[in-house]
Amino acid sequence: MLPLIARRVLATIPVMGVVALTVFALLHLTPGDPAAIIAGDYAAPQDIAKIRSALGLDKPLLTQVGVWLGNVVRGDLGTSIYSGLPVTTLIAQRVGPTIALTLFAMVFSVAVAVPLGVWAAWRQGSWIDRLIMLLSVSGFSMPVFWLGFLLVWVFAIQLSVLPVQGYQPMAAGPWQFLRHLILPALTLSLVYMALIARMTRASMLGVLKEDYVRTAFAKGLAPQRVLLGHALKAASLPVVTIIGLGFALLIGGAVVTESVFALPGIGRLTVDAIVRRDYPVIQGVVLIISGVYVLLNLVIDLLYVALDPRIRY
C-alpha cells in the first residue's frame, strides 16, 4: 500500500505542473488588465502603465511564468495584486467555511441519499421507488441559487429561525456555527443527494440480481442484513466513486452557494479573483484545488482496495 501511495503522490507532481502552466496560459490570454482596475475609472493611461510596471505585469510572459513557478517550488504562491496579502493567507482565511460547508453537505447528502437509494431499489417499481426518484429528479433539476433564495425566504425571512447569510466559526459556539451552515448545506446538498440516491439505486438493482444475494435471501437472512451487509457493500464502488467526484461538484456548487449566503469561502475568493484578474490568487487557488482533486482520486482508489479485495494496483 505504501509504495502505491508514494507512487501516486509522485505522479501528482507532473499533473500539477501541467495544471499550473495551463492555468497561467489561460489567465494571461484572457482579456483584462489588473493595473487598469487598480488605478480606478478616472486614472490617466500613464498612471495605469506605471502600476503595470510596478507589478511586473509588463514583463515578458515567459519571465512572469518563470518567476511564478520558481516561487511555487519554494512554497510561495505569491501575493494578491490588490490587497498585497500572501495568497496562502487569503486561502487560509477562506478554507474554513468551504471545508465546513462541503463536509456538512457531504455528510448530510450521504446520510439521506444512500438509505433512500437502497430503499428505492428494494421497493423497485413501487410508489415509494417512484416517489424517491421523482424527488431526486426534482432535486437534480433545481438551480442551486433558486433553491437557496427559496430557503432564505422561508426560514430566514418568513419564519426567522435561521440567518440569511454569513459564517460563524466554531469558536463562536457550536450552535452559531451550525445555524449559519444549515441553509447553505441544505442548498448545496440537494443536487448531490439526488445524484447519490440515483446511483445507489442503480447499483443496488444490479447487485440484487446476483446469485449470492438470492442465496442469502434463500438462507432466510433478514432483508436489512442482506441489503446492508451484503448487497450495499458490493454496490458501493460506483457510489464511492460518485461521492469522491461529488466533492469536486460540491466545490463547484460552493461557488454559487457561497455567493448566495455570503459565506467567505474559497469559491467566492476564486470568483472575486477572476472578476478582477488577480492572477496570483487565481493561480494559487486553482493549484490547491487541483491538488485536492488529485488527492481525492487517490483516496477513492485506496477505498476501492479496501472495499473489494480483488482489486490490485
Binding site: I38, G40, Y42, A44, I51, S80, V152, F261, D272
Partner: protein
C-alpha cells in the same frame, strides 16, 4: 507672516461660524454598539492615493483626515487646519494645524507629515499634479505650520487641499508618505475618526474599524466631509455581500444596518418595509457618460461626434437605465445640475434630432464600417446605455458591432488605441459622481491633452488653455466665466456626451440615525 493679510482666513472663519450657528449641535443620539454596513464593493486596496476606486476613497474617509473639506453645501471648510492666511497677490499660503491631532500610532500630526502627504498625493492626482507644478516651495516652518509659495498662479489651492473625491489629499505619517506613489503603503495609519483593524480584515468578506478614541472632532456640526466628525459607535463592520438579493434579505432580517447602494429594482420592495428607510446620500448623484474614441473614424471627426450629441435623448436613456423618475433628472450641463457650482445650459443642444444626427454622421465621413460599442454586461450603469446607444445608432443608419464583455475586459479594452478591427473600440459608457465632473479642473472627460488625456484621447489646445486658465484664476467670478466657456466648447467639440444624471439610493434600518448626505459615503455621526 505679518505682511500677509487675513482676508481668506476671515472669510473661512465666517463661513464656519455660519454653519455652526445655523444648526447648533444637539446630542440626542445614543453611543456605542456596532454599525454593520454593506459597502457597494469589496475593499481590496487600502491605499487611497494608489487607486481612484470609490470604495478605497470611502475607506480613506474612515481612516484619514484632510486639511480642508467640502461641507454639505459644497463650501470649503477647514478640517485639520486651524487657521490659514494668504498673501495679497495670492502667491503665498500659510497653514497651521489644529491642536490635538494624532495619528493612530500615537504620534502627533506635524506639518512635516502634511507636506510629505501632499507631495505623494500631488505626484498621483490630476489636480494635485497641476498644483505641484505651480508650487515653488512647500515646507514646514514649525511643527504645526507649513507654507506654500507658488511659482505660477494657482487659484484652486484650498480646493485642491479639500478635493473630496478620487483621490482626496489624505494626510498620513511622513514615513508612509515617503512610499513611491505607484506602490501601496504598507501600513494603514491615519489621523481620522476610525482605526483600521488589520488582523480582522478579510478581503472579499469583512473590514473592521474601531472608533479612534484619540480623535478630537471640530466643534462645528458635521456637514458633508466638514465639521465635527463625531464617532458614536464603537465599531464599524463592513460586510461585503456580493448578491443584491442576499443583501436585501439581510437588511430586512436585521442582520445588517445599512446597505450603501441599493439596486433600483430592489428599492420599491424595501420602501414597503416599515423598518427600513430608503435614503439618497448623494443628492447630486452621478453623470452618465458616453465616450467616443477621438482617434478612430468616424468619431475622429467633430461632426460625427456632434451627431452623437443630437442622437441622445437623456429621458429615453434614463428611463431605460434607471427606470424610476424620482431617481434621475435630465441635465443639459456638462458640470451637472442641482445646486452645482458651475451649472449652465450654455451651448446645450435642444431636443433630440435624429434627422440632424443622421446628416452630421454622414457629413462626418461615416462610411458604413461597423461602429464598435463596448458592452460590459455585468455593470448595469454601463450595459443598459450601451444597448440604447446601439439601438440609436442603428436608427441613424449605422452598422453597429455591440461587443458584450465583463467590466474587467472593458477597462483593459478601452485602453487600446488601435482601430476597432484590431481590438480597439469606438464607444464605451461609464458614469462619474458629481465630485469628479463638477469643475473643469476635476473633469477628466474634458481633458484635451491627446495621448495623455483620459481614454478616448481628445486633442484640443483650446480646451487645455481654458482648463489651465481655470486652475490659475484666483477670482471665483472669473472662474465661473471660464467654466461657462469650457461648457460651450465642450458642446462644440464633443469630447463626451452625457446621457443624464441619476442617484443611487441607500437603505438603512430605523435604528440607524445621523447618516450624512455627501458625494462619498461617510460613517461618522451615525448611531445604531
Amino acid at each position: 507672516m505679518s505682511h500677509m493679510h487675513r482676508r481668506t482666513f476671515l472669510a473661512g472663519s465666517a463661513a464656519t461660524a455660519a454653519v455652526a450657528a445655523a444648526a447648533p449641535y444637539v446630542h440626542a443620539q445614543k453611543k456605542g454598539g456596532t454599525l454593520k454596513f454593506v459597502p457597494h464593493a469589496d475593499l481590496k486596496i487600502l491605499d487611497p492615493i494608489w487607486t481612484t476606486a470609490y470604495i478605497t476613497r470611502n475607506h480613506g474617509y474612515m481612516i484619514f483626515d484632510t486639511l480642508f473639506a467640502l461641507d454639505g453645501n459644497l463650501k470649503l471648510q477647514p478640517q485639520m487646519v486651524d487657521k490659514w492666511s494668504v498673501s495679497a497677490n495670492n502667491m503665498k499660503y500659510s497653514f497651521t494645524l489644529r491642536d490635538g491631532l494624532k495619528f493612530h500610532d500615537g504620534q502627533a500630526v506635524t506639518a512635516e507629515d502634511c507636506v510629505a502627504s501632499l507631495k505623494r498625493w500631488g505626484a498621483k492626482d490630476a489636480v494635485g499634479r497641476l498644483f505641484m507644478a505651480s508650487i515653488g516651495k512647500m515646507a514646514p516652518t514649525d511643527r504645526k505650520t507649513f507654507t506654500i509659495e507658488l511659482e505660477t498662479p494657482f487659484g484652486l489651492v484650498l480646493d485642491a487641499l479639500g478635493k473630496p473625491s478620487a483621490s482626496p489629499s489624505f494626510m498620513m505619517p511622513a514615513r508612509l508618505a515617503a512610499t513611491d506613489p505607484n506602490e501601496q503603503v504598507k501600513e494603514v495609519i491615519g489621523s481620522g475618526p476610525y482605526r483600521f483593524v488589520k488582523d480582522e480584515w478579510q478581503p472579499g468578506n469583512k473590514v473592521v474599524y474601531l472608533a479612534n478614541k484619540d480623535y478630537v472632532p471640530r466643534n462645528e456640526n458635521p456637514s458633508g466631509a466638514a465639521g465635527g466628525k463625531r464617532v458614536l459607535v464603537d465599531r464599524v463592520e463592513w460586510r461585503y455581500i456580493p448578491d443584491a438579493l442576499t443583501a436585501s434579505s439581510a437588511l430586512e432580517a436585521g442582520e445588517v444596518d445599512y446597505w450603501e447602494n441599493v439596486p433600483l429594482d430592489f428599492a420599491p420592495g424595501l420602501e414597503r418595509n416599515p423598518n427600513v428607510t430608503i435614503f439618497v446620500t448623494d443628492p447630486r448623484g452621478s453623470q452618465g457618460i458616453l465616450r467616443p474614441n477621438h482617434l478612430q473614424p468616424p468619431f475622429n471627426n467633430k461632426k460625427a461626434r456632434q451627431a452623437l450629441l443630437h442622437m441622445v435623448d437623456q429621458a429615453y436613456y434614463l428611463q431605460a437605465v434607471i427606470g424610476s423618475a424620482k431617481y434621475y433628472k435630465v441635465c443639459p450641463g456638462v458640470f451637472m445640475c442641482g445646486g452645482m457650482p458651475y451649472e449652465f445650459s450654455t451651448g446645450a443642444p435642444g431636443k433630440q434630432d435624429l434627422d440632424r444626427a443622421r446628416r452630421l454622421l454622414k457629413e462626418g465621413g461615416y462610411d458604413g464600417r461597423p461602429i464598435t460599442v463596448l458592452d460590459p454586461a455585468d455593470s448595469p450603469y454601463a450595459h443598459a446605455p450601451a444597448l440604447v446607444t446601439a439601438e440609436m445608432l442603428k436608427k441613424l443608419g449605422a452598422n453597429v458591432d455591440l461587443q458584450a464583455m465583463d467590466w474587467s475586459t472593458m477597462v483593459a479594452r478601452r485602453g487600446k488605441k488601435e482601430p476597432p478591427a484590431q481590438g480597439g473600440w469606438n464607444i464605451f459608457h461609464t458614469w462619474a459622481t458629481s465630485f469628479d465632473v463638477m469643475t473643469p479642473a476635476v473633469a477628466s472627460v474634458l481633458s484635451g491633452a491627446g495621448d495623455k488625456a483620459w481614454f478616448g484621447w481628445p486633442t484640443s489646445e483650446e480646451m487645455e488653455k481654458l482648463r489651465t486658465a481655470f486652475t490659475r484664476e484666483p477670482d471665483a467670478g472669473k472662474r465661473r466665466q471660464i467654466a461657462e466657456q469650457v461648457q460651450k466648447l465642450a458642446f462644440d467639440e464633443v469630447p463626451f456626451v452625457t446621457w443624464g444624471q441619476f442617484v443611487v439610493p441607500g437603505a438603512f434600518r430605523k435604528n440607524v440615525q445621523g447618516v450624512l448626505q455627501f458625494g462619498a459615503t461617510l460613517l461618522w455621526n451615525i448611531s445604531v
